[in-house]
């Protein structure tokens, strides 16, 4: 917080949730809102909380945040395309080899990708170094699909990792995919899942990392990919 909190403006306050003195990756979107919209967000949040004091239903608070996340992130981005490639699936999924790839920043505990050569980089470190991540080529981590949750780690300076720490399946659904393979809904789940830190250089992703990842998928005869951003 500033040395003299009395001098802090509302704009500084709302912006402080995005890589500032009050960093909270669930609410970093506040920085992208106008002062008026951010004020409305807080006022409505507190009003709904008052309703929840009566009926104990806190779902309305989640819905409120959900609606404002949509409002904040729904702007059209820098990367827009009018046409896109399409590969038809040659066989049904129940007869295809499928791999999972996420941008969640997961890795196996004993196989830390050590970004920037840093050992034991923490989530807090990753948040502080987000500016370096977004300029770097992303690195793909391989994760055996039978890795127990306690051996998984997530580190990503762009989102709140508490959800995946509570249950990796919310974004890296290894257990659900293994169940669906067992049931025959997926022909063959590739033995490795893949993950990278999605906060990265788009140009380095497209020119350098992407072609390498395609080679990995081709080498393993992977026909289809389930892709999950956070």
């Amino acid at each position: 917080m500033p040395d003299d909190p009395k001098q802090e403006t509302f704009q500084e306050f709302k912006n402080s949730f995005a890589y500032g003195s009050r960093t909270d990756l669930n609410f970093k979107f506040l920085k992208g809102l106008s002062n008026e919209d951010a004020a409305q967000f807080f006022q409505d949040l507190l009003w709904k909380l008052g309703d929840s004091f009566n009926d104990g239903d806190f779902d309305r608070l989640i819905k409120h945040v959900y609606q404002w996340q949509i409002r904040a992130y729904s702007k059209e981005g820098k990367w827009t395309y009018t046409e896109g490639p399409f590969t038809p699936l040659q066989k049904p999924v129940s007869k295809s080899r499928l791999a999972l790839l996420t941008s969640t920043g997961h890795f196996v505990a004993e196989n830390d990708p050590e970004p920037f050569g840093a050992k034991n980089l923490t989530q807090e470190d990753a948040i502080k170094r987000i500016g370096e991540f977004v300029k770097a080529e992303p690195e793909l981590s391989s994760i055996p699909v039978d890795t127990p949750q306690e051996n998984l780690r997530a580190r990503h300076g762009g989102y709140d990792i508490r959800g995946v720490q509570a249950d990796a399946n919310v974004a890296l659904p290894l257990e659900r995919l293994l169940e669906l393979e067992q049931e025959g809904r997926i022909g063959r789940l590739h033995s490795e899942a893949y993950s990278f830190v999605g906060a990265c250089s788009q140009l380095r992703l497209m020119k350098q990392a992407g072609p390498k990842w395609i080679e990995i998928f081709r080498r393993h005869n992977i026909e289809t990919a389930l892709l999950i951003p956070v």
Binding site: N26, D59, I62, Y66, Q69, I70, Y73, S74, K75, E76, G77, K78, W79, Y81, T82, G84, P85, F86, T87, P88, L89, V93, T102, S103, V134, P138, H156, G158, Y159, I161, R162, G163, V164, D167, N169, V170, A171, E175, R176, E179, L180, R185, F196, G198, A199, Q202, L205, M206, G210, P211, W213, R218, I222, E223, T224, A225, L226, L227, I228, P229
Partner: protein, 91 residues
């Protein structure tokens, strides 16, 4: 930015002959649709938990099944399915 990165991976893979499907939260729908992706499942969930709440195995499973069904059924670029329901932790 995370969602844009995955959008670019989808486009690269499709160009290389690997069929893809993306599962993303509603907040990312507009920017991802503007990337002309082949197949997209939109979920009514909060950021950082695209498949549903921790411990909600049933919801996570339903989300993946929607994606697998879309892989089987989509015939052209821009196939989008919105998962009904909401985000309900603690169930």
């Amino acid at each position: 930015m995370c969602h844009v990165s995955v959008g670019h991976v989808a486009r690269l893979f499709e160009e290389a002959g690997i069929a893809t499907v993306v599962i993303a939260i509603k907040a990312f729908q507009r920017p991802l649709e503007s990337m002309a992706l082949p197949r997209l499942v939109i979920t009514p969930h909060v950021k950082g938990r695209p498949l549903g709440a921790p411990g909600d195995d049933e919801r996570q499973r339903a989300t993946i099944l929607a994606a697998l069904n879309l892989l089987d059924s989509a015939k052209q670029v821009g196939a989008v399915v919105e998962l009904p329901g909401g985000y309900y932790p603690g169930r």
